[in-house]
C-alpha cells in the first residue's frame, strides 16, 4: 500500500427504523477506493448496495441511522463532519448518479437551470457564466445541440439523455469520486453501453474514482478493476476482478457467477440461487447471513459475528466473510 485510499469505509452499520421493528440494513461494511480507481459493488436487490451509497453521501432517508463505522474521504471522516461541511463537499468532491435518471431530475425545471444550480452552489457561477459552463458539460456528455437542450425539461428528453444530463450535473464541479447507483437500469442495451463507456472515459480523463453499483456481474467485470460483493447487508467478498472471477472464495460469489449468463453458456446451464434474503428484522441474525442458502454451512457459521479473512495478493488484498471459504479453482 502506498498512498492512503481516497474513500475508506470501515465497519459501517446502518439500521432503519420501521413499524415492524429495526432493520439491520448494513452490518460492518468495509471497502476502500483508491484515487482514480473503478470498483463495483454487486449484489441482488435488497443487499444494501444503494444504502451503502446513500450512507456515504449522507443522504439516507430520515428513518435510516448510521449506528457505527467510519467513512473516510480524503482523510476526513464524513460521519463526523458537520452538516454544512458535508453539503459543501457533496456535488463538489463526490457526486452521485441514480438508477432512474428521469426521476432524479426535477421534472419542472430546465436541465440547464438544474446544472446551473449546482454550479451556483459550489463555484458561485451565476447567469451567463453558469449557462456557458452548463452547456460545456452537456457537450462533454455528448448531447447534441447542447445550447438548445439547456432549455429542455426532463420530460422532453429520452431516458438515456436524462442519464447524460445527470452525469453532466454530477461531474459539473469535477468531483474526485463518482458513485453510480445502477446507472443503466431501465435503459436499452445500446444506451447502456454508451452510458457505461461515457462514465469510464470521463473517469479516466479526469482521474476520477468511480464506484459502480450494479446487480450485473458482467457489467462489473467489463468496467471495474475490483469487485465488492454484497449480500443481505454484509460485504461477503472483496477482490480484484480477475481473481474473483477465476476463483471465487465465498459460496455466494460462486453461486452468483454460476447464475450469470456469459457467451458460450446455455441458459439452461445457469443455476438459480436457492432461497431469498433473510429477514433483516430478526434479532438473532447469524454471523453469516447466507447460511440458509448455503450448502457448505455448518455450526461455526451461526456465531453472532464473523470476521473477514484477509489474504494479500499481488493486485491488492482479498477479503472474504466466510468461515469455510472455497479454496478450489473456478466454479
Amino acid at each position: 500500500m502506498t498512498a492512503p485510499p481516497l474513500l475508506a469505509v470501515g465497519d459501517l452499520s446502518v439500521t432503519f427504523r420501521t413499524r415492524a421493528g429495526p432493520v439491520k440494513a448494513l452490518e460492518r461494511v468495509s471497502f476502500a477506493v483508491d484515487k482514480g480507481e473503478t470498483i463495483a459493488i454487486v449484489g441482488e436487490s435488497g443487499s444494501g448496495k444503494s444504502v451503502t451509497a446513500q450512507a456515504i453521501m449522507g443522504i439516507l432517508d430520515p428513518a435510516g441511522r448510521v449506528e457505527a463505522g467510519r467513512v473516510y474521504f480524503a482523510g476526513l471522516d464524513l460521519l463526523r463532519a458537520s452538516a454544512s461541511e458535508l453539503a459543501d463537499m457533496r456535488g463538489r468532491e463526490f457526486a452521485m448518479i441514480f438508477q432512474n435518471p428521469r426521476g432524479a431530475l426535477n421534472p419542472i425545471r430546465t436541465v440547464g437551470d438544474q446544472i446551473a444550480d449546482v454550479l451556483a452552489r459550489h463555484e458561485h457561477l451565476k447567469g451567463a457564466a453558469a449557462r456557458d459552463r452548463a452547456m460545456e458539460m452537456l457537450a462533454l456528455v455528448k448531447i447534441t445541440d447542447p445550447r438548445r437542450r439547456l432549455d429542455a425539461y426532463p420530460f422532453e428528453l429520452s431516458g438515456g439523455m436524462c442519464q447524460r444530463v445527470m452525469i453532466a450535473l454530477a461531474l459539473a464541479c469535477r468531483p474526485a469520486l463518482l458513485i453510480a447507483d445502477e446507472p443503466t437500469t431501465g435503459l436499452d442495451v445500446t444506451t447502456q453501453a454508451a452510458i457505461m463507456d461515457l462514465i469510464g472515459e470521463l473517469g479516466r480523463s479526469r482521474g476520477m474514482a468511480t464506484v459502480l453499483i450494479t446487480h450485473d456481474l458482467g457489467l462489473a467485470a467489463e468496467h471495474c478493476g475490483r469487485i465488492v460483493v454484497m449480500h443481505a447487508g454484509h460485504v461477503v467478498e472483496d477482490a480484484p476482478a480477475a481473481q474473483l472471477f477465476a476463483a471465487p472464495r465465498h459460496p455466494y460469489t460462486a453461486k452468483l457467477l454460476a447464475a450469470t449468463p456469459r457467451p458460450g453458456r446455455h441458459l439452461e446451464d445457469l443455476e438459480a440461487i436457492p432461497g431469498g434474503l433473510p429477514d433483516l428484522r430478526r434479532a438473532d441474525l447469524p454471523g453469516c447471513r447466507f447460511l440458509e442458502r448455503c450448502d457448505r454451512a455448518g455450526e461455526p457459521c451461526r456465531a453472532p459475528a464473523l470476521d473477514a479473512i484477509v489474504t494479500p495478493s499481488p493486485d491488492g488484498e482479498r477479503r472474504v466473510l466466510c468461515v469455510r471459504p472455497l479454496m478450489g479453482l473456478a466454479a
Binding site: I59, A95, D117, V118, L169
Partner: protein, 337 residues
C-alpha cells in the same frame, strides 16, 4: 396561450347549455306556485290567474323555455318576484360582495395553511406538525355559523375591536366609486384610505370565519404534497449535489408540491363561493348566497336560475384560471393542452 383559453371556453359551452336547461327545468319542478305566492294570501283565484298570465306561467313549458332563452340572449335574467327588481341588477351588486368575502377568506387561508403545511412536512412528527393537524381538524369541524358567532361574540361584544356585523360598510362611510365592486380595492383605487380601512374592518371577521374553514383542506394537501415531493428521487439527487436546504425546499420540493395544492385551491374556492350563505347570514353580508336562498324558499325562480347560471360561469372561469396557473407552474401541461 390565447388559443388555449379560447379552446377551453369553447369546450365549456356545452356544459353551460346543459346548466341552462337543467336550471330551467328544476325551477319549474320546485314545489309551490309562484303566482299564488306573488298574489298574496288573500288573492282571489282570478287574481292569481291574472298574475300567472302576466308572468307567462300559463304557457307550455317549451314556450316558457324559448322566452327564457330570448331573455338570456338579451342578457336578462328576468325579474325577481319578491323585490320586483331585475335579477341581473341584483347579481351585479351582490356578486362582488360574495367574491370579496370569498377571496379575502381564501387569501387568509392560503397565507396560513400553506406555510403551516410546509413546516409540518419539513418537520414531520414535530410539535408544529401536530399543531397543524389540530388547527386543521378544529377548523373543519366547527360549522362556519358557529365560528362566525364566536368571532362576533369575542371581537365585537367582548373585546369591542371589531365593528358591528352589519354588512359591507358601516353607516358613516359612503360606498366607494365602483370599479371592481370590491369595496376595499375600490376605496384604495379612489385613494380613500379611511373607507378602505372601514371596509376592511367589516370584512375581517366574515373572511376569517370562511378562512378558518378553508384552512384544513389546504394545509393537509400542502403537507401531503410537500412530503411526497421531499421524499422524491429528485430531492434526494438535489441533496446529493449539495444544494442548500432552502433551495431544495423551495425550488425543488415546493414548486412541485404546488400542483396538487392549486387543484385543491380551485375546489375550495368554488365550494366557498356557494357555501358561504351561512356566513353571509351571520354578518348580514349582501352576497349572492343569501339572495339565492331567500329566493329558493319562496319559489322565486328567476333569481335561482340567475344564481345557478352565474355560478356555472364562475366555475368555468375559475377552472380556466387554475389550468392557466398549472401551465405556468408545470411545463408538461402546455404540451398536453
Amino acid at each position: 396561450m390565447l388559443a388555449m383559453i379560447g379552446r377551453r371556453l369553447a369546450a365549456a359551452l356545452p356544459s353551460i347549455a346543459g346548466v341552462v336547461v337543467v336550471t330551467f327545468l328544476l325551477t319549474r319542478l320546485l314545489p309551490g306556485d309562484p303566482a299564488a305566492y306573488f298574489a298574496g294570501p288573500a288573492a282571489t283565484p282570478q287574481a292569481i290567474e291574472e298574475i300567472r298570465q302576466r308572468l307567462g306561467l300559463d304557457q307550455s313549458v317549451p314556450a316558457q323555455f324559448l322566452t327564457y332563452l330570448g331573455d338570456l340572449a338579451r342578457g336578462e335574467f328576468g325579474l325577481s318576484l319578491t323585490t320586483g327588481l331585475p335579477v341581473m341588477q341584483e347579481l351585479v351588486t351582490r356578486l362582488p360582495a360574495s367574491l370579496e368575502l370569498t377571496l379575502a377568506g381564501l387569501l387568509f387561508a392560503v397565507a396560513v395553511a400553506v406555510p403551516l403545511g410546509i413546516l409540518a412536512a419539513v418537520r414531520a412528527g414535530s410539535w408544529i406538525d401536530h399543531a397543524t393537524r389540530i388547527v386543521a381538524t378544529a377548523g373543519v369541524s366547527l360549522p362556519t355559523f358557529f365560528t362566525g358567532l364566536l368571532l362576533v361574540h369575542v371581537f365585537y361584544s367582548v373585546l369591542q375591536v371589531a365593528p358591528a356585523p352589519m354588512g359591507r360598510l358601516d353607516i358613516f362611510s359612503s360606498t366607494p366609486p365602483p370599479v371592481t365592486g370590491l369595496y376595499v380595492l375600490d376605496a384604495l383605487l379612489a385613494g380613500d384610505g379611511e373607507t378602505a380601512l372601514a371596509a376592511l374592518a367589516q370584512l375581517a371577521l366574515p373572511a376569517l370565519t370562511l378562512g378558518i374553514f378553508a384552512l384544513a383542506p389546504l394545509a393537509r394537501m400542502t403537507r401531503a404534497a410537500m412530503l411526497a415531493a421531499l421524499g422524491s428521487e429528485f430531492v434526494r439527487a438535489a441533496r446529493a449535489s449539495g444544494l442548500s436546504r432552502g433551495r431544495i425546499v423551495w425550488v425543488y420540493a415546493f414548486r412541485n408540491a404546488m400542483l396538487p395544492v392549486l387543484t385543491t385551491l380551485g375546489m375550495v374556492f368554488s365550494f366557498l363561493l356557494g357555501a358561504n350563505v351561512l356566513v353571509e347570514k351571520v354578518f348580514a353580508w349582501p352576497g349572492i348566497g343569501s339572495y339565492a336562498i331567500e329566493a329558493l324558499i319562496v319559489s322565486d325562480y328567476a333569481p335561482v336560475q340567475g344564481f345557478v347560471l352565474t355560478m356555472a360561469l364562475l366555475y368555468v372561469l375559475l377552472n380556466l384560471a387554475i389550468d392557466i396557473l398549472y401551465g405556468i407552474v408545470d411545463p408538461r401541461v402546455k404540451v398536453e393542452s
